[in-house]
Each structure stands twice: as C-alpha cells, then as structure tokens.
Symmetry: none
Subunit: 225 residues, 2 copies
DNA sequence: CTTCAACGACTAGAATTTTCATAGGAACAG
DNA sequence: CTGTTCCTATGAAAATTCTAGTCGTTGAAG
C-alpha cells in the first residue's frame, strides 16, 4: 500500500513516515502543496494525508483541485486547528476524514486502514524495491536516489533490478549474463562491465556511500557501505 | 438518502432524527441492538449510525455481525467513550468513523455526507476518467481536453482508456496487445505504435503538457508532466 | 626492482534496435 | 458505392546496445 504524506514540518513528516512504514506501507513525502499536487496527480496512492497549513498551496485548496481533476483517492486532513468550522471546511473541500493534532498514532493508523480498505480492493498498489536511499519503482520504470529521479535504459534497469533483488550476495558475471542477457555460454563479451560502469555513473557517482561493489575475481555485490 | 440510527436514549435519538431530517434525509430509528440488526439486514441504508452502549446487543458486536453477514454499508460509531482503545475497538469491529459525545451536529452531518458519498460513488463506478485537463467519458465514448471535444474511433478509445486506467505506470506493448487487441503472441505487428501516434495527434498535439510518454525499450506511460 | 599478465575501469563510436511518421490497401458499415 | 476504420509496410530518425580498444592497478615471477 502506498501513502502520500504532504507535511511541511520536517519533524512531524519524519515521524509520520517512520510510523507508517512500520506498518510496512510505502510512504512518499512532499513538503509543500505544489509538489504534493504533482505527486498526487501523477502516481496512484491508496491514501493521501494532507496537512492543512502548507506552503505554496494549502491543504484545502490542494484537495479541492485534486477532486476537480477527478481524483478519488481518499484524503485525510491533519491539522492543529480544532474548531468545527475548520473540520467542515475540510469535508467541504473533498476530504474523507479529519484528525486534529495532537493525535494518537494508533488512531491515525486505524483511520488510514479504513480509508484504504475501499481503494485497495480495486487495483494493486505500486511495486518498489528499496535499498538505502535508492529506490527502484517497477511500475514507473524509474529509479530514485535520495528522491532525485534517475532515468535508466531498459538494460540498465534490468541489471539494476537483478542486483537489487540479490542484494548482499555476490553475483558472478555468468549469473548476470544468464539472467539479464540470456547469454548461456562464454562469448568473450564485456557488456556486463560496460553496463556496471553505466550504472555506477548514474547511481553511485554523485553519492558518497557506494552501493555497487566489485569483488575481484568473483563478480559484483549490491550493498550499503 | 436513507439513514439508520440505533440509539437507546430517547432524547438523543429524537434530536438526531430531527437534525438529520432537516437535511431532507430519511431517518429510521431503532432503540436496541437486536432491532437495529434486524433493520440493518432487511433494508438497504446508505449510512448506519450506531451508539456503542446499547441494550441487548452492543454497537461493536452489532457491527461485527453485520460485517460478518457481508454488509458493507458505512457505519459511524457514536459514543461517550473517548479513549483511544475504544476508538480502535470501533474500527476493528468494522466501523468507518467514530465520533465522541458531545459532538457538534454539523460535524456529524459532514461525516455522514462523506460516508454516504463513498458508497454512492462506488456504485456508479465512475463513468468518467479524468487526468489533468483530459477527461474520458465512458458513456458518451468521447474525450474532452480543456473542454474541447475529441472524437475517437473504437480502437483509439480502448487504447486511451487502458492507458488512463494504468496512469503512472509503464505498460509494455505486450500488455497493450493482450488487453486492447487480444493478441497473445508476437505477430510482428506495429499497430500499437501506429495507434499511439494517432492518439498523440488527437490528444497531445495541440497542448503544451503532454500526457502520453514513451519509455524506450519498455513501453508507454500515461502521466502529467 | 622490473616486467609482465590478469583483471577490471572506462570511452568512443559502430552496429543494432526501437520508435516515429506517413502512405496506402483491406475490411467494414451504412 | 462511399466513407470510415483498422492494419501493414516502409523509411527516416532517435536511442540503445554492444564491440573493441586504451588505461590503470595489482600481484607474482624473474
């Protein structure tokens, strides 16, 4: 299950992300209303959690715009404002539920579950492999490192997927050749080396902690540190 | 719209009935859990409002039994108990929302509206798919972009519908061939490319933000950007 | 200490594949 | 028969995949 959290206060955002991920849900964060809108319209989430006070575009207006665009994903508002009129505004804007800060996390979980229950039944949620700050979205066919989008070609994607699925294990060139290239005998090619190099440029180059490591004489291993 | 209220305290029950009827909704009252259950199972309501403390059969057990019987009508719990654990019990029992007494009547109305809206929209199952400024009317078999009518042939329509239903994820040519053309093996055809081209001319050509994107070597993806 | 071989990193550009765009014919409906 | 829809075929353009090389490092032998 995939949840979008739009919350500008970093502390609360992190808290929400961690707490929701403990339910083994995937969580995407947006820190302002405009980014939130873009994410909500481009990808399918099961539930959207919206703070009301957001920079650039407030939660109510964001919800209204999404509803206007025909998005029916359940929306839960989260806010410090606790008066009735605020709540009514939230519902009027197209919200499905409303929770007032401070709240108990377990109640949030329960409400999110209820909201999700409806939408989960119709379509499967998105598939993502995540290791460290790198995630590979199998639906979008796109990788992200620390949130930065990385475009990959088909072969690059296939290779990275194979490495990530075998994280923590050394995979030999022969394994890779068979699984990714369908090569079953030694052709004396060096494609694999070349593509490892391509991946390193795109995935590891700009980041201090490398994820793709060479094990001389053995192959490659994908792991943190 | 029809609402069932199960509440044993006559004063509150009458208050609820009058208030809800002011919204020109039909309200049925039950004064204990067993009668409530009978009514809920025998007639179709849009929303059920359940007090938790009820004679003969308490609200949670009543909800559980209804859910067990396969009833999916939204349930809102109403109770004086306000602790987190009570709320969690309520959601666990199959409730969709939880309101603690005393409450503002307008908030009740708002929450009931949301619950009702969900069940009604769910049934008509959206005759219009909308993404960004493009809408696809499944009844009229017509698309509109920024309000401008776009006529599509049957195949164009089917392809666009498939893309829109899978917005945000890459669909391969094989997927499209199977789902839209019923081709289950590689025939070496290029119909899909041709029709993507047709759609682009009709849907994307005159507009700056494109919706149909190709992902080389993988397929196509429908999304804003 | 020097040399050489093995291995992997990395690059340029050639070869191949994939996609786009268009034209024209077959199939079909009215 | 006529107009529309659907599909095949084709060539150009774009993007990719892969080959063939150079370079650097390491470690062992001479």
């Amino acid at each position: 299950m995939k949840i979008l959290v739009v919350e500008d206060e970093p502390k609360l955002a992190g808290f929400l992300k961690r707490g929701l991920e403990e339910q083994s849900w995937e969580v995407e964060l947006a820190y302002d209303g405009q980014v939130g809108k873009k994410m909500a319209s481009n990808y399918r989430f099961d539930v959207i959690i919206l703070d009301v006070n957001l920079p650039l575009l407030n939660g109510y207006d964001l919800a209204r715009q999404l509803r206007n665009d025909g998005l029916s994903t359940p929306i839960l508002f989260l806010t410090a404002l606790g008066t009735i009129d605020d709540k009514l505004d939230g519902f009027e804007a197209g919200g499905d539920d409303y929770l007032v800060k401070p709240f108990e996390f377990r109640e949030l979980i329960a409400r999110v579950k209820v909201l999700a229950h409806r939408s989960t039944t119709r379509e499967q949620s998105s598939q993502v492999l995540t290791i460290a700050d790198l995630e590979l979205n199998l639906d979008e066919k796109v990788a992200r490192r620390s949130g930065n989008r990385i475009d990959l070609t088909a072969k690059e994607f296939a290779l990275l997927e194979y490495l990530m699925r075998n994280r923590g294990r050394v995979v030999s060139r022969v394994d890779i050749a068979e699984q990714v290239w369908d090569i079953r005998f030694d052709t004396g090619t060096n494609v694999i080396d070349v593509y490892i190099n391509f991946l390193r440029k795109k995935v590891d180059k700009d980041y201090p902690n490398k994820l793709i490591h060479t094990v001389v004489g053995m192959g490659y291993i994908f792991k943190e540190e």
